[in-house]
Each structure stands twice: as structure tokens, then as C-alpha cells.
Symmetry: C2
Subunit: 218 residues, 2 copies
Amino acid sequence: MFTLSEENYLKTIYHLELETNKGISTNAIAEKLATKASSVTDMIKKLSEKEVVIYKKYKGVKLTDLGKKSAANIVRKHRLWEVFLVEKLDFSWDEVHEVAEQLEHIKSSKLIDQLDGFLNFPTHDPHGDPIPDRDGNLKTIEKSLLSTLTKNESGICVGVDDSSSEFLQFLDKKGITLGKKITILDKEDFDDSLSILIEDKKLSISNKIANNLYMKKS
Amino acid sequence: MFTLSEENYLKTIYHLELETNKGISTNAIAEKLATKASSVTDMIKKLSEKEVVIYKKYKGVKLTDLGKKSAANIVRKHRLWEVFLVEKLDFSWDEVHEVAEQLEHIKSSKLIDQLDGFLNFPTHDPHGDPIPDRDGNLKTIEKSLLSTLTKNESGICVGVDDSSSEFLQFLDKKGITLGKKITILDKEDFDDSLSILIEDKKLSISNKIANNLYMKKS
DNA sequence: ATATATTTTTAGGCAAGTCTAAAAATAATA
DNA sequence: TATTATTTTTAGACTTGCCTAAAAATATAT
Ligand SMILES: [Mn+2]
Ligand SMILES: [Mn+2]
Ligand SMILES: [Mn+2]
Ligand SMILES: [Mn+2]
């Protein structure tokens, strides 16, 4: 169906579309894929031929329904494999992305259906990101950045925005993992840093951190 | 390290070398890979550059130690994934090969080590083929073709020579699976067909079948 | 040993995916 | 609005892996 390269472009456009509803620019794609704008233009033409994107010169691209479904399926595979690696093979959440980038391209619908069942139909990956269902639909849960909580509010940590391994390792070091309860003890006005209670430990975290942690208010 | 294509060539040469100890001919490789001799010559030069094969024009190729180790590692991955698919994801033994052909190219030593442990360090794949260890060594067990057993001899079915899905499905239909005890009741001289006892069922099988089943004598 | 057949290599070409440099279109600014 | 800056596209080239057709080497048969 799609080449490895085509799949990577599809996925990138899919992720970019979740952030805006405008057309996705050539440059935006090039940057995410660490490639050149001219290469992107070439590939966009191919994707347009295959009817997974709508392309008008100089106007950027948009995924068609087929394109969205195809991209969601790749994301589904990526996230299911991440769950597998963490749950079954004892990978930590900062190690899975690279391998999942490879595994997401394996072509076998039976494989992914069986894997889904083997993992007990997980709804979220190790970083708190939702796993699309077979039709490409994903149910978004109510979540807010930790930085938007006010003093004395509390919630459960349900996801990360930045899932770079540096950030994830930093969180591990601080004892911040998904599922933990966090309460805002205090907010510093001059640098927006937070004093929080996590489980029963007091911790001080910067605004940058708070901007990358998703909470489910409770 | 190696491209997908290079890995497939390495694996093919590796398998061919297990059958003979002469140099592997260009044509033999071409046939196994369903490609053209000229393409093989091209690739052989690249592999030779990378020092995984010794190549002398018109004389065929031989794997170097590095080449053997690299190839064995791909075979190791292939067979471990086949075990995973059968043991954990309920694939049948005739469905796994195609998917394993893809999975064997995933690059992550942690992945394969953990998978090995997760599967309890299996020594053989679902077709009875040995799984190379991390250093590329494989211990061959004592096994004989069913067709070489004599009347009243018996053994355990431990492997198949042909693992095409047609053959495997045929075996399923006849109730012949690995681990079952088989006794030779009679041999027909004129067509070399066999009358066998499998578990407690009598069965008549052709010489062609008997030539594709490996037994451990008991 | 010579002629014929087969195998292997070389030569040249093609598609995918990438790149650089230059041209064209669009956006931003004075 | 005219000019400058940025973005995007085109043109041409490169690498990988494959192909066909022809040449060269090796093997087989008379
Ligand atoms: Mn990921
Ligand atoms: Mn993830
Ligand atoms: Mn196989
Ligand atoms: Mn096998």
C-alpha cells in the first residue's frame, strides 16, 4: 500500500493537523522530518496521486479521509507497540519511541489485532497518548496542562506533551510518573514555578515542566 | 549497519551455505531471492566491500566470520519472532513466516534480548528449526527424515523440511504436528509410501511427505 | 581440442527518495 | 504600493537497488 517513506510523511501531516486546522505547509513537514522542502514537494505530489492528501500549489496539504485513516492506523500501531514494549518487555517509557518508529511499519492486520487483544485493548500508550481504534477514531479525554491548575487544585498525571527521552528521564528522577496524584501547594508569581505535592512528597518544579505535564482534574 | 536488502542477501547466502561447503553461486542466490543474476553481482560487490563475504569473480561467494555472525543474528530474530507469534499471538505455524520476514529487520538488541527472555529462551522455532544464540551459534540436534526410518522404528516429530504454508496446512489436516510420536507400521516398496501410527491413529502417507518430516528416533 | 551451452559479469538505463541551486510565488514591510 | 524577505516549486543531479541486453568467462559435449 504505502512505502515506509510515504507512511512517515502521512504520520507527520497527521500530527501537524492535530495542532492546527489550516493547510500544512511544506516547511513544517520538512522540519519535522528533518528533510528539505524540495523533497517534501516531491513526496506531496506522490501522496496527492494516491489520494491521501489534497494539494494545491503554494497552499499546503490536507489529509483526505483515506489519508486520515491510513495515518491513524500507523499511529495505532506505533502506540500499541509502545505498550507492548513497556508492559511485556520491560522497556522504560523513554526507550520505546525509537523501536516503535520501526515496528509501526510492519504490515499485517492480524498481527496488530492480535497484539491489541494480547495487551487487553489498551486505550493509551505509555506517554498517555490515546490509541486510535481500528477505524482510526480516537477518544480524547479531558486533560489540562499542570500549569493551568490553580492553588489547592489537584489531579492525576495522565500524560506528557514532550516525550523526549531527556524529559522522561528527568521525570523518572523526580518520581513523576503517570497515574500519580499531584496537588498544587503554591504558585510563584515571578517565575511561574510550582510547589507541588506528589503522593506524599513535596516538590518544586519549573514552569517549563508544568507546561509539559497533562493532568486529569479531580 | 546493513540495509534491508543487504540483510536479505546475507540470510540467503547463510542458508545456502548450510547445504553445501562450496562457494555460493550467483545464480543460486538469484533464484532464492527471485531476482536477476546481474542484480546479485551488484550486491555481492557491496557485501564484499563491507567485508561480510569473500568474492572472487566467477568463483561465487563465501561468508566471512562477520558475515556468518550477522546472518545468524537475522535468522535468530526471524525465529524468535515466529515463536512469539505462535506462542503469544495465536498465529498458526503456517502464518508466521511472512510476518517474521518483516520483523527480522527491526534493529534493537535490547528488543531481541528481552523478547528471548519473555519467550523463556526457546531453542527451536515453530517449524523445529534451531534458534541461533546471541553469538550466532546453533546447536543442531540429532534428527532424521521420516523416510529413513525402518519398519517398527518410532520417534518424535521434531521438524519440517518444507515449511510452505500449503505443506503445513496439509499436516494440520492430517493431525501431524511437532511433538507427536510416530511409528512406522509398514513400508510399501513400489511407491515408498508409509503406513504409520501417529498417537493412536493409523495413517498412510506418501514418500514426498515422509521426505519432509524430521524425526528424533526413540 | 574444438564447438556449444551455461553462467557470470559489464554496460547502460529506470524508479524512488533525497539533495543543491535557481526560479517563481507569496508574504511582510516600508 | 513598491520593495524586500520568505516560502515553495522546479531543474538537475546523486545513490540504492533493480532491470535488460550484450560481452566475457567457464563448463560441457562432441
Ligand atoms: Mn512514540
Ligand atoms: Mn508514545
Ligand atoms: Mn520462517
Ligand atoms: Mn521457521
